[in-house]
Amino acid sequence: MRHRKYPFIAGFLVVPLTLYVVFVLYPYTRAFYISMTAWRGFDVAPKWIGFKNYERLWSNDDRFWQAVQHHGILLVTLPVITIVIALFFAFLLSVGGKSKSGDMAGVWGSKFYRVVFFLPQVLAVPIIAVLFQTVYRPNESGLINGVLMKLGFDPVFFMIKPHLALPSIIAVLVWVSVGFYVVLFTAGMGSIPQELYEAAELDGAGKFRLFFGVTLPLLRDTLQVAWVYLGIAAFDAFAIVNVLALSEGGPNGTTTVMAVEIFRAYGKNNFGYASALGVALFFMSITFAALTLRVTRREAIEY
């Protein structure tokens, strides 16, 4: 019967593989091709121009380099801040409370908090951006500035001041992401055997020692996954920036990201250049993912 196995497997694979080729591989290769052309997206054959789009991008596009720089900043800040906050909350929710008869428990009301933290995750991203337009609004009808001005302070121009705009965007991204990672880490912590905590407690470990000595090392795999996810998220940020930031990644390009630049290039009917930007973004994400997986590879701890 063994010879029947392969047709059987192939039968299962035909449909998904076809879909994958048509909807993933083909558009990717097509994008590579278009990035080597000048094309305005009409019924006119794209004109082959070789690497000209890439030359321009490399040597003559300030906004591209601004975007790259912002991705660099996002790549460091977004995962670090999100993971630290999420870990802290997850620890409080699962191990932070008093232990009852040896079982570790979260702080009081942890079930409620779990829902609250997850809530941003169920909102569509553009809606969150619109929400934060109101939170950051620079006059008395803004959520933050309304309070500040009532208290007699000057309003803070979150999205207007060039040095405040990107941090404000990052704050939103963190706010959106934390909930998911709280849940992820809570689940990870749930799978850590209670005996380990018990043993550590018997040995006199406090909450800090528990966290750094038991929780963190055993969460290593989960953390790694979180890091890769957040890193990839750091290469996106399109919806938030496009809706929340002033004038397409403004002011003055201080919040722009690659996806916004791609969008702008499409807006100018410059499909070739937009594809070149897309390919650049593709390589940036791939490089990041490969690097992270390589750097963080280590023997898993068995328990």
Binding site: V44, P138, M159, I160, L246
Partner: protein, 505 residues
Amino acid sequence: MPDLSYPLSRRALLARAAAAGLLVGPGAGILAACGKDDDPKPGASGSTPAAGSSSAAGSSSAAGSSSAAVSSSAATEAPAGGAGDNPFDVKEDAALDLVIFAGGYTDKYAKEVHEPLYKAKFAKAEIKHQATEEISTVVQPRFAAGDPPDFVNNSGAKSMDFGALVADNQLEDLTALWDAPSVDDPAKKVRDTVVPGTIDVGSFNGKPYVLYYVSTVFGLWYSGKLFKDNSWTPPTDWDSFIKVLDEMKAKKIIPYAYAGANAPYYQWNVILTHAAKIGGGDVLKNIDNLEDGAWTNDAVKQAATLWAEVGAKYMDKSHEGLKHTDVQLQQNQYKVGFYPSGDWLENEQKKDTPEGFEYQMIPVPAAAGGKMGAAGVRATAGEGYVVPAKAKNKAGGLEYMRQMLSKAGGEGFAKLIGSPTVVVGASDAVEFPPGVKSSQAALKAAGADVVNIFFDGWYKDLDTEARTATNDLMFGRIKADEFCSRIQKKADELKKDDAVVKFKR
């Protein structure tokens, strides 16, 4: 000359169109989800400032009696539509495929005014009317597939780039339209029935490709009621303008405002119009033609200096982060004095304007002694319509335009929307709201001192740079010198860039 052969059968045409519709439908929905609709700019071109100004606000009311009037006039039109009056040889049963931008003007005027006119002439023709707020999302794939509609209202924040369309020969040359006999008087050519300048606005390097339909005047807008209540007189020159600003400030009204978040081009429009008043219309022509030193011209510098002072003294810093809808609403609440805009503003704000507000417009004020009269304005025709070069029923598209440019077409639009069209005399009998009345009066008073600006429609990058620099200037981060040199640098870059198609006027 348009291509007048129709190798396709009607059935094949419909089948293909339906297939295209199926493809476009779901895609449009998905793309719409990631779109952004906060650029008040309706078109890729600055010369199309009208409609898109707001996606929702607009002429939801109106209609009613006027549409009845239109259909009756359409009926009287019918007999004229005999065999003789068909300059483009439209096949009477050929379907007509229209895509209308449903922005500030909505798509009502097409449905209730222009389509009945066409239908009255070609009763057998099926009109396929599609309305959307996202033109490029719907139409671009059809261009890419070589199956464009017969008529496109290319406008709104997601309009297609006119320069790109022209550069790739996607648009039908409208010379045939302008040279055709007009609907109302066959002895007159269509080109002689429109306001002078209409054809130029839609021309690229001398060839007409776009029909700009709505007459648009730019200036500074204020509430007639606010002025009456405070017995202020509308300023006519720079000194009296500053005086009124001071008085507004004393009353705790923000004297001057524009929306920095998405409409800084409303303000560079003011600065450049002012520069033209100082240095003459050639200042703007040089800017459009990317001449060396056009932006660092002394007139631009002077105007920028004056407006930077207004920015420093009479504006509210928070407006840099607000959208045009927010700022316009503040003006309706009597919190803002002057607001720069075109005359679509009144229609756009219809819903939010309180009783008795009475929109009024003054030309951009300037001191005497410039090369242009104080009454000079920027005026243009806005809201662009095109016939794709590869459309199946090109003749139908051209005929539809000809009907729009008839007296009945122009009058119907003016009545329904409250904005005059480029059709001469078509809005004489129409009673406009106070704001449009005042802007029309200003246009008349300007006489020959009418200027226009094109560069933003031709070079999107230059527009972006001008917007950014305008915010920096008006909110006090740079001085006039840097404002000029910065935009000049971008203009020089574009000039040297072979990849960018150049236009001249």
